[in-house]
């Protein structure tokens, strides 16, 4: 009989620790051990304000220093998404650029703000864009504005939709319709979200190339990385996990994507902003129905779990970090998400099995032949290569793209 999990002690160690309540009445900062703590991180580590702030900046710089993706004097595109994360990232960069020590940041950041708040009205969207523009001005960074809907309707003429001034950004009430027109109406919200996500990634890479940037910084936090990982698993995008959630995404030959905030929690950055008197651009997004798409459901699942089990996010992120791509480097790339596609597989994987199963259940049976003949005919006509333009998951969404 199976005895795994019978042992009570093992059982405890197997599961994540539930949120614990500790008494911090006489606690001292865990780092300097002299001052009274003002912040508690990960529910158990108390820090004083000075140690918290220096630790936060150090964590950011350590990730940059460790990966060395950016060379001095290169331009870096910063994807501004409003909120605490974007503001903190810009402040990290500004303080790094203003240093006079050898630790000074030596690359040139350019902010890109992709306007896609289609659930809000034109007035609010304009107001948010202006706030982003003001923030860039305050911190003295160059910025470009792009409306995602304009890109989707006019992909060929990028320079005409990249604006340096917020006044030139055109915001239309029917932008939402334009985006929807690019996806067939019989698609699910899950598919639509995937396609819009793909448009956004494609646009960001094109803008980076247009502006001569070799690298893109995103504002993805630990929770975003963890939810992206679970989304990829649920949507059959196992091969994307390494690219979508790793520190560096080098799918594109010319531009790499770095996620410098992936080890941060929103609490750290919100408090960083508060102590530095920074006001992030904020607005309330429409509450999403968690059951309307796979992505929303994953987000709800994680957010709920995170409240009572604070280790959730880091457990998922660290587990994801252990994953790697085992394939031979392949020249063939998925036309949508650009992950390498496996070639010439000896044994069929689950994707091929699913393709075969789908194909065979949509074939008409030729009743005048014997079972043996039918089998050999089926095996001879099944063409696995026709699925080779896209990866498994993109094969599912590609039919819904209107070209």
């Amino acid at each position: 009989m199976c005895s795994v999990g019978d042992d009570v002690d093992e059982e405890k160690a197997k599961f994540m620790q539930k949120k614990i309540t500790l008494n911090f009445t006489n606690a001292l900062c865990i780092k300097c051990r002299t001052l009274k703590p003002q912040v508690i991180l990960h529910n158990q580590y108390p820090y004083c304000k000075a140690c918290f702030l220096s630790g936060t900046v150090h964590k950011f710089k350590a990730l940059l220093g460790k990966n060395r993706v950016v060379q001095p004097n290169e331009s870096v595109l910063i994807h501004h998404k409003a909120g605490h994360a974007s503001t903190a990232l810009l402040h990290f960069l500004r303080t790094g650029l203003d240093l006079n020590t050898p630790k000074k940041i030596r690359f040139k950041p350019i902010i890109a703000y992709i306007e896609d708040n289609y659930e809000l009205n034109v007035e609010d969207r304009t107001h948010i864009s202006r706030q982003v523009s003001d923030e860039a001005e305050r911190l003295n960074f160059p910025i470009v504005f792009i409306n995602l809907a304009q890109y989707v309707t006019n992909k060929s003429n990028l320079p005409s939709i990249v604006h340096e001034k917020v006044e030139d950004l055109r915001i239309d009430p029917d932008d939402n319709m334009k985006i929807r027109a690019a996806v067939k109406s019989n698609s699910t919200l899950t598919t639509q979200t995937e396609i819009v996500h793909y448009f956004e990634r494609e646009l960001l890479l094109k803008v980076a190339k247009h502006l001569g940037c070799q690298c893109i910084f995103t504002t993805d936090l630990g929770i975003d990385i963890a939810s992206q990982l679970l989304k990829n698993v649920t949507l059959g995008r196992g091969e994307n996990i390494v690219y979508d959630t790793g520190v560096v995404d080098s799918r594109d030959m010319d531009v790499s994507v770095l996620r410098p905030l992936r080890n941060f929690t929103i609490k750290e950055l919100a408090l960083y902003n508060y102590f530095n008197h920074l006001e992030p651009v904020s607005f309330y997004r429409k509450t999403k129905n968690p059951y309307s798409s796979m992505q929303n459901l994953v987000e709800k699942f994680l957010a709920d779990l995170h409240v009572n089990y604070p280790a959730t996010i880091s457990t998922i992120v660290r587990t994801g970090d252990k994953l790697g791509v085992n394939n031979e480097p392949s020249e063939d790339r998925c036309m949508l998400c650009k992950v390498p596609i496996r070639k010439e597989i000896e044994s069929l994987g689950s994707a091929e099995a699913t393709n075969f199963s789908h194909w065979i259940s949509t074939q008409t049976r030729s009743c005048d032949k014997s079972l043996k003949e039918r089998t050999s005919q089926i095996l001879a006509t099944f063409d696995n290569n026709k699925y080779n333009k896209y990866c498994y998951s993109c094969n599912q969404i590609a039919p819904y793209l209107c070209q």
Binding site: A82, G83, L221, I266, L271, S282, Y284
Partner: protein
């Protein structure tokens, strides 16, 4: 001289101010006739009845703040101060920062 009010200041940030008519700072006096020892949980009820303009579910959940809202009492994380059980002192500065992170 008997003290009949408890003066404190409340601040909202990170988007929480949007629920309070876009006003960030409030100087308020809590009445001490009925409640003599004001705890944060009492303050939350008071805020809900007197200040909260819209969508209370984005601020209050059960008898605490909604997960994702950070609370600082005199610049100290409320988790170091016994959260909702902290007894408010005169001239305390209590700040609520929303971290509801979209996208």
């Amino acid at each position: 001289m008997s003290v009949d009010t408890l003066p404190i200041s409340i601040g909202f940030g990170g988007g929480a101010e949007l629920l309070f008519g876009n006003k960030k700072n409030f100087a308020i006096s809590l009445p001490v006739q009925e409640i003599t020892k004001w705890q944060i949980s009492d303050l939350l009820k008071w805020i809900q009845d007197n200040l909260l303009k819209e969508r209370p579910e984005l601020f209050i959940q059960d008898n605490s703040v909604r997960p994702g809202i950070l609370v600082l009492i005199n610049d100290v994380d409320w988790e170091l101060m016994d959260t909702i059980n902290y007894v408010i002192q005169p001239n305390d500065e209590i700040v609520f920062i929303s971290t509801l992170h979209g996208g």
